[in-house]
Symmetry: C2
Subunit: 266 residues, 2 copies
C-alpha cells in the first residue's frame, strides 16, 4: 500500500482507527470455541463488523504463535481475509542482524501479505534496513512504548536526549515517511508534542488507547500532522467488547464510538 | 533444563559449542531440495553428525518463518528431534508488553519445547519478566550484539555507562544465573573482560564466531567463568561447510575443530 492511498482512506472514512486482533482462544465467546478454526472465525466476524469504521488491522503475532502451527494458519487466513483497502500490520517486534532481518522481511512482506511490520531498534541500522528495502511496505520502529518498562531504557538520557528521542532522530534518517513509521504509546500523549518536533512527517502507530488507558483526545491533539499522521490502535477494548453470540455487533458499537470521536478531531 | 545439567554436559563433552540451525532452503545441498521436508531432513542429519560435539542447538526462527506454515512445521519437528540432553535455544529476539510477552513465552516454552529464548530489552522489565517466570527455562537477553549496528544505540553513553552496560546491570537484577543469560557478540571479545565485571555469574551466548569473524580464543580468554559460562555459537561455518551429499560429515569436521579447540580452553 502507498502512503497516499492510506491517507485517502483516512479522509474518506473519517477514521484513523486500527483494530488490533490480539485474539486469544481463551477469551473468544464460548459458542465459537469448539470451532476448529475458532480464531479465524472470530477475526472474520470482527473484520466484517468493523471494516467500514477503520483503516487498519494489526495482528499481534504472539497470540497466534502461542497456538503453534494452528495459530500460524489462523494468522495467514486472517491477513488474507483483511480487505486490500486496509493497512495490514504485523505487530511482531522483530529485529536481528542483516541476513536474519531479511528473512523476517520475507516472512511478513512476501509470504504473509502484510503492508507493515513493527521492528525493535536495539540492534541498529543493519537490523532495520532489510525491511526498508521493500517498496510500498512500511517498517514501524519502536520509539516510546506504552508500558511501564519504557522507563527502564527508553527514558534514559543519552547525552541531551532521552534514548527514545535519539532512536527517533537516528532512525528517521534511514527512511522516509513513505516507508517508515514509529510506535509511540498513547499513555505518553504529552510527549507527543516534542516527538512531533523530531519527526514531523512520519505516521505514528499509537497503541495504549482503551485497555491501557491512553486518551484519544490528547493523542489527537498533540500527535496529528497535516496528513493526519496517526493510526490509533485499540485491541481488547473493541474485540472483547461482548462475550456472547452478538460479540461482533458489540465490537462494532465500540469501533463506532472511536470513529465518531475521530471524525471530530480530523 | 537446569543450569547444573548444562554445566555437567559441558564438562563431560569438553565442549561449549552451540550449533546454529539457520537453515535456508536455498542454501542446503541440491539433492535434498526436492524433499518435501528438506529443511527438517537437513537439520536431522546435521544434528546426528554433531550431537556428541556440542551441548546446544540454536534455531533462528526467521529462517523458518520465511517459509510460512511449512517452516513452522520444520521448526517444530526440529526442536522435537534435538535430544533432551541438549540445550534448545529459540533465537527469536522477542519482547513486547507483558500480556504479549506471556504469549511468546507460552509459544516457545510450552507449545514448542525450547529451553531458552533470546529477548530484546528495549521495552524493559515487564517485557522480559513473563519469560523469567518459567522454572528451568532461560531468558537470553541481548546485551552487546555482534553486528555493526550495535554502535547505533547499544554503544551510546547513558550516564557513565554504555547503554549495553546499563542493560546488563539492570536486567541482571531481574533474574538469577539459573534463569537468565545474555547475548554478547564474539566480535566484541575485548569488551568481555569489563562485561564479566558486571555479570560474573551468568552464562553468555556468543554469536559471531565463524562467518562473522570473531575469535574463539579471545572469547574464551575474556569470557569464561568458573562454570565455563559460555555457549559459543557457530551457524553458517558449520552447517554449510559442505554442499554435496556428504554435507553432514563436513559439518562434523568443522564442529570437531571447534570442540578440539574448546577442550584446550576448558
Amino acid at each position: 500500500m502507498t502512503l497516499q492511498f492510506l491517507i485517502e482512506q483516512i479522509k474518506q472514512k473519517k477514521s484513523y482507527l486500527c483494530v488490533g486482533l490480539d485474539t486469544s482462544i481463551e477469551k473468544i465467546p464460548k459458542h465459537l470455541q469448539s470451532n476448529p478454526a475458532a480464531v479465524f472465525e472470530f477475526n472474520k466476524q470482527i473484520i466484517d463488523a468493523t471494516k467500514d469504521l477503520c483503516v487498519a488491522y494489526k495482528i499481534n503475532t504472539a497470540f497466534y504463535e502461542s497456538n503453534g502451527i494452528k495459530g500460524w494458519e489462523a494468522m495467514e487466513k486472517t491477513v488474507n481475509y483483511i480487505p486490500s483497502t486496509h493497512f495490514r500490520i504485523a505487530d511482531a517486534k522483530r529485529g536481528d542482524i542483516g541476513n536474519t532481518s531479511s528473512q523476517y522481511a520475507k516472512a511478513f512482506f512476501d509470504v504473509l501479505n502484510f503492508d507493515a511490520i513493527t521492528v525493535a531498534p536495539y540492534m541498529g541500522f543493519d537490523s532495520v534496513q532489510p525491511f526498508l528495502e521493500y517498496e510500498n511496505k512500511f517498517t514501524i520502529v519502536l520509539g516510546l512504548t506504552s508500558n511501564k518498562g519504557s522507563e527502564d531504557f527508553q527514558q534514559l538520557k543519552t547525552g541531551d536526549n532521552f534514548l527514545y528521542e535519539t532512536v527517533l532522530k537516528k532512525v528517521s534518517g534511514w527512511g522516509t515517511k513513505e516507508n517508515l513509521m514509529f510506535v509511540v504509546g498513547a499513555t505518553k500523549a504529552t510527549e507527543l508534542e516534542s516527538i512531533r518536533k523530531i519527526i514531523p512527517g512520519n505516521f505514528l502507530l499509537i497503541p495504549g488507547v482503551g485497555a491501557q488507558g491512553g486518551s484519544l483526545e490528547d493523542v489527537s491533539k498533540y500527535g496529528m500532522n497535516k496528513d493526519c499522521g496517526l493510526l490509533v490502535n485499540a485491541s481488547r477494548a473493541i474485540i472483547y467488547a461482548g462475550t456472547g453470540e452478538n460479540f461482533a455487533e458489540e465490537a462494532r458499537i465500540i469501533a463506532q464510538q472511536y470513529q465518531t470521536e475521530m471524525m471530530n478531531y480530523l
